[in-house]
């Protein structure tokens, strides 16, 4: 046996529930009740008073981490490149944002930050400041022992200049504090009936710029090409029905592939389906039940022969 996955939940899953039916402690409760061990947050959504939380809030954060025995995993942040209508930020301003989030993430106990840089085209090519800004904070990341892991997110596939540029960056700098975050939305192989951000104008582009909503269907085998650079995975999904059948993401392919590649990091749930209240809580539990089931099945099939006979 190659070890097992770690199970986490991103509070992104509870979007729209957070602040209407759920506070921070409720979110911790639901994650812990799903038997997950890791909690992922969005700095700008879940840290009250971001970017300068009060000491009372920080005390509360640590008491929740302790009470629910959850490990802070990944901290999502944003580099708002077109910060004003007629002004993009430069490398220094981008590095300052990264510095702020690295320090805050460290303070809260996180191991990873996922910076979301603004993009310059339909293929989600990051704004060119990404490279200089990231390079400037590599020493700080090393000092804090936090890895900076930009996200590979549909419509960007694994085999793409964006990913190549990230890997080149790792090889050029020799850093151990930069990597890839794979969002499992890239494996989506059946269409989404709707998307939360979709406008009527976007819908008309379903055969063009928005066709990725039908799924970009990255072959799971290509995970082999990036797994060495991938310390964290967001388990993006949209709908799992009462028969534990996922309507969009082929977990029956993703899970065995990750197992065979020896992945033992987190699968951190990102529910991104219908935003009716309380639905996400149940959907996250279904996803964990499904992935855990597939993992058990893989383990049984690959157990040592003696164990099989027992």
């Amino acid at each position: 046996m190659s070890g097992s996955f770690k199970y986490g939940v991103s509070l992104y899953s509870y979007t729209d529930d957070f602040g209407t039916v759920m506070g921070l402690e409720d979110a911790f409760y639901h994650v812990a009740e799903a038997s997950a061990t890791g909690i992922e947050i969005l700095g700008e959504a879940h840290v009250e008073g971001y970017p300068e939380p009060s000491s009372a809030w920080l005390d509360r954060w640590f008491s929740l981490v302790e009470k629910y025995r959850l490990e802070p995993t990944n901290y999502a942040c944003w580099i708002d490149t077109d910060i004003q209508k007629r002004r993009d930020i430069g490398v220094e301003e981008a590095a300052a944002q990264l510095t702020l989030d690295l320090n805050l993430a460290k303070r809260l106990g996180f191991k990873f930050i996922r910076p979301k840089f603004g993009v310059i085209d339909d293929e989600l090519t990051p704004h060119p400041v990404w490279e200089g800004a990231t390079e400037r904070v590599l020493d700080l990341a090393a000092k804090l022992d936090i890895s900076i892991i930009p996200e590979i997110h549909a419509p960007t596939p694994i085999r793409h200049p964006v990913v190549e540029a990230y890997i080149d960056f790792i090889q050029r700098t020799g850093t151990r504090h930069f990597g890839l975050l794979i969002d499992t939305g890239i494996f989506q192989d059946r269409p989404l009936p709707s998307w939360q951000h979709e406008t009527p104008e976007m819908r008309e582009l379903r055969s063009g710029a928005m066709s990725f909503l039908d799924g970009i269907k990255v072959p799971v085998e290509q995970l082999a090409e990036v797994i060495d650079y991938t310390p964290f995975i967001q388990a993006k999904f949209h709908h799992i029905d009462e028969d534990l059948h996922d309507h969009n993401i082929p977990w029956e392919k993703v899970v065995p592939m990750l197992k065979s590649l020896g992945y033992t990091g987190y699968l951190s749930s990102e529910y991104e389906g219908v935003r009716d209240p309380w639905v996400a809580i149940e959907q996250v539990r279904r996803q964990h039940a499904l992935i855990r089931k597939l993992e058990r099945e893989y383990d049984q099939q690959h157990a040592a022969p003696a164990a099989v006979e027992a």
Partner: protein
Amino acid sequence: MLERNHIQTSGFSNIGPEGNRTGFRVRLRQPNYRGTRVSLLEGIDVTVDGERYPSQENRFLIDGREYGHADLDTLIDVRWPVGTTVDVLIDKPGGLEPGVHLVETVVLYRHPYFPPQFRPVPVPDSRHATIVL
């Protein structure tokens, strides 16, 4: 804040170590508009995937303590407040299979201010809920 259904999916879980489950729990929020003293609670029947687990055979975790069905009538000073949960603890060797289940509950209340012919009144709920592992 609790889930809107009486039956909570968070808290619906097997009891006992993996590989040696002894039963499962169903977590309910107080479905009544006031918190009630437990002696007014005449039981909680549970059905999972069509299999009935009548109140008489269940145990109840209320404010951190476990009680049997026959105890309920004696608990005149124990309360189940609004916005809090009670776990129904059900014996079932092996527990429930991980996955989605159809859970149905009936909470029986003796409301003293209801006409005697409507005591107890059954308060039903049903939903799909998931056993994670």
